[in-house]
């Protein structure tokens, strides 16, 4: 399966991935209309300490700790993609504590969690990948490059 890989070498720290992620998960419409005056809650975040920067999103682990920790059976792995069923999620945030990469976050309302699901639910290639201006985020078979 293809996964999202981040190449720190080419990450500019521009944060465009965050905005395109937010927009894709709000229906992929006009970004100005969707995000104007809103605080975004993206599923990918850029870590930046002023010297090094890189984007982080779900690694889709083969044995995900989040899935093991989920008390309501809301997290599952479907064809290698770690997914959250927000109807089953009870918002206990145990998965947020369990994820070693910090890539699960509460959704905008805070009652359930959200995470990167490779834009499968948005009907597009991962938005962070297609809008990265420097090809720092790539969507590839594991072990091909990066």
């Amino acid at each position: 399966m293809r996964k999202i890989f981040v190449r720190e070498e080419w990450c500019l720290g521009c944060h465009l991935c965050e905005y395109h992620c937010a927009n894709a998960n709000l229906g992929n419409g006009d970004m100005a209309k969707a995000l104007k005056g809103r605080r975004i809650n993206p599923r990918i975040t850029v870590e930046d300490d002023g010297r090094i920067c890189f984007a982080v999103s779900c690694r889709h682990c083969t044995e995900p700790d989040c899935k093991k920790s989920c008390i309501s059976g809301a997290i599952s792995v479907v064809d290698g993609v770690v997914q959250v069923d927000q109807d089953k999620c009870v918002g206990c945030y145990t998965c947020i504590l369990a994820c070693p990469y910090g890539t699960i976050q509460p959704n905008a309302e805070g009652h359930v969690v959200q995470k990167c699901e490779l834009c499968l639910q948005n009907g597009c290639e991962p938005a962070c990948v297609s809008h990265c201006p420097n090809r720092a985020i790539i969507y590839e078979q594991e072990g091909v490059s990066a």
Binding site: C11, L12, C14, A32, P133, N134, R135
Partner: protein
């Protein structure tokens, strides 16, 4: 604060579209954007903007545009806004004005006044998609007589040549004036395309020796980064006598750019100014030039063709004739519109002559003297499109050099601020966070696309002329006609006026 100097550009932000994502602020190395936390909105600082379009390009909602200011002095045909502005800058600083990239002045462009021919009825055009079209080019001395051995077998006595898949090369830009990633993009693209790029005078980074067979290594007046391995690494060695953007002067890489790998590659002390003198201190005549040509040939075991690069100046034909007799295999001529990483404004804008005229007069002179086959002719200095390239070949060039066009493919937006060293596109800078903005994977891909597109266009135009080999286009001035030119211009170019 620049006294009396008003910003040239204004940052226009469509507040309805701006989502205050702060991408513009993060991407501008000139700090022309800011974020006001109190109002939660973005601000623009016009006086810092160099109009490089980095923010405009990356803005995800297309909320930005940069416009030329409408603010003006009282209109004056003699004292233009720019003239007044430059005068104020000099009164503020007492310094020589610096500029980058090519001459922006509206001087005549002869390529634009030359039209190409096509076949009709009597000699059929050729469809390049159906029939073979040869663009392969060899640069070097061609005047060696054919010799056969005792058994009638051809004796291979040809002097070294540069083999190119098409008559085009990336011209000299030093590592230092442009970034490591820009060099990596050029080297990878040249290798994939089967053409050459040129190290410029900054030496060759050790990581790029593997692209050697597609590299021209340069020897300039500062002799930076030159050693035997370097001379042996490339496909040819180029002696740089002059540059179109700044004929008659040398170069100056400021100490703050000559750091780390750049200084190491140049074999200069870290942080020292790398100054190339105006002349080569060992060359004051054609005889001296001949000595250097043969020293380099011998050092390289007579295995590399030698290029001598000169700027197009008034008596270029006589100089070229001398160069042809110096033992050089190739002469490169750089016209007055050629680019630079930094040059005094007055020199860039007022010294030299157009490459079209220089090329025609050199080709004519070498033919008249019967030495045209002794040397290949490469020209550069603002070859902007395949049309300019084709016209240059028909005027007599064996190949063309492009650099500004190549940088545009890498993302350059011609803001002409290279000398500031804060290139937002990661090209003309050595600041690590800016250099990484140019991913050579993307850069090389875009260069390959550009050159392949030009090659297609060359084949299309040649096909239209009924020519199936670039050899038959070379120096074929019958394929050219001038429009709106004087008799004198036509005479120098050696072409007829349209309609005759």
């Amino acid at each position: 604060m620049e006294l009396y100097v008003h910003p040239e550009f204004e940052i226009v932000r469509n507040e309805k579209k701006c989502i205050a994502c702060r991408v513009c602020e993060r991407q501008c190395a000139n700090c022309a954007h800011g974020y006001d936390a109190d109002s939660g909105s973005m601000e623009g600082y016009d006086e810092k903007c160099v109009n490089c379009h980095r923010c405009v390009t990356l803005c995800p909602t297309k909320a930005l545009k940069i416009v030329q200011t409408a603010h003006t002095f009282r209109p004056n045909a003699n004292w233009s806004n720019n003239t007044i502005r430059e005068l104020y800058l000099q009164a503020n600083t007492g310094g020589v004005l610096l500029s980058s990239m090519g001459n922006p002045r509206p001087l005549p462009n002869y390529f634009d006044r030359i039209l190409l021919n096509a076949s009709q009825v009597t000699n059929p055009p050729i469809d390049p998609l159906r029939e073979p079209m040869e663009t392969r080019t060899y640069l070097g001395k061609k005047s060696i007589p054919l010799q056969r051995g005792a058994a009638g077998k051809l004796i291979e006595n040809l002097t070294p040549q540069i083999a190119l898949t098409m008559p085009l090369m990336f011209s000299a830009m030093s590592y230092g004036s442009i970034s490591y990633n820009a060099h990596a993009s050029l080297a990878r693209a040249a290798t994939e395309l089967g053409i050459c790029y040129n190290t410029g005078e900054g030496g060759l980074h050790r990581a790029f020796y593997r692209y050697g067979s597609n590299t021209i290594v340069q020897v300039a007046s500062g002799r930076f980064g030159i050693h035997t391995d370097y001379l042996m690494a490339g496909a040819a060695v180029e002696i740089k006598m002059g540059q179109g953007a700044k004929p008659g002067i040398g170069g100056h890489l400021p100490g703050k750019k000559n750091v780390g790998e750049v200084a190491r590659t140049r074999m200069t002390p870290d942080g020292s100014d790398a100054i190339s003198p105006a002349p080569h201190h060992d060359i004051y005549s054609i005889e001296d030039l001949r000595q250097l040509v043969y020293s380099l040939k011998e050092t390289a075991g007579n295995s590399k063709p030698i290029i001598v690069k000169i700027a197009a100046v008034h008596n270029v034909a006589a100089i070229a004739s001398g160069v042809a007799r110096s033992g050089a295999d190739i002469i490169a001529i750089d016209g007055f519109r050629g680019g630079t990483g930094a040059a005094p404004t007055r020199i860039r804008d007022h010294v030299g002559i157009p490459i079209e005229l220089a090329l025609a007069s050199v080709d004519t002179r070498l033919r008249e003297e019967g030495i045209r086959d002794d040397i290949s002719l490469v020209v550069g200095g603002s070859i902007r499109s395949a049309a300019d390239w084709i016209k240059a070949i028909a005027l007599g060039a064996d190949a063309c050099y492009i650099a500004t066009g190549a940088l545009l493919a890498l993302g350059c937006h011609l803001c002409r601020s290279c000398h500031i060293g804060l290139c937002n596109w990661g090209i003309a800078t050595q600041r690590a966070d800016l250099v990484k903005r140019l991913n050579p994977e993307i850069g090389a891909e875009r260069l390959v696309n550009l050159v392949k597109a030009w090659q297609h266009e060359l084949k299309e135009v040649m096909g239209g002329m009924g020519i199936n080999s670039v050899e038959a286009l070379r120096g074929n001035r019958l394929m050219l006609r001038g429009v709106g030119m004087t008799q004198e211009e036509l005479r120098v170019l050696g072409i007829e006026h349209a309609g005759s």
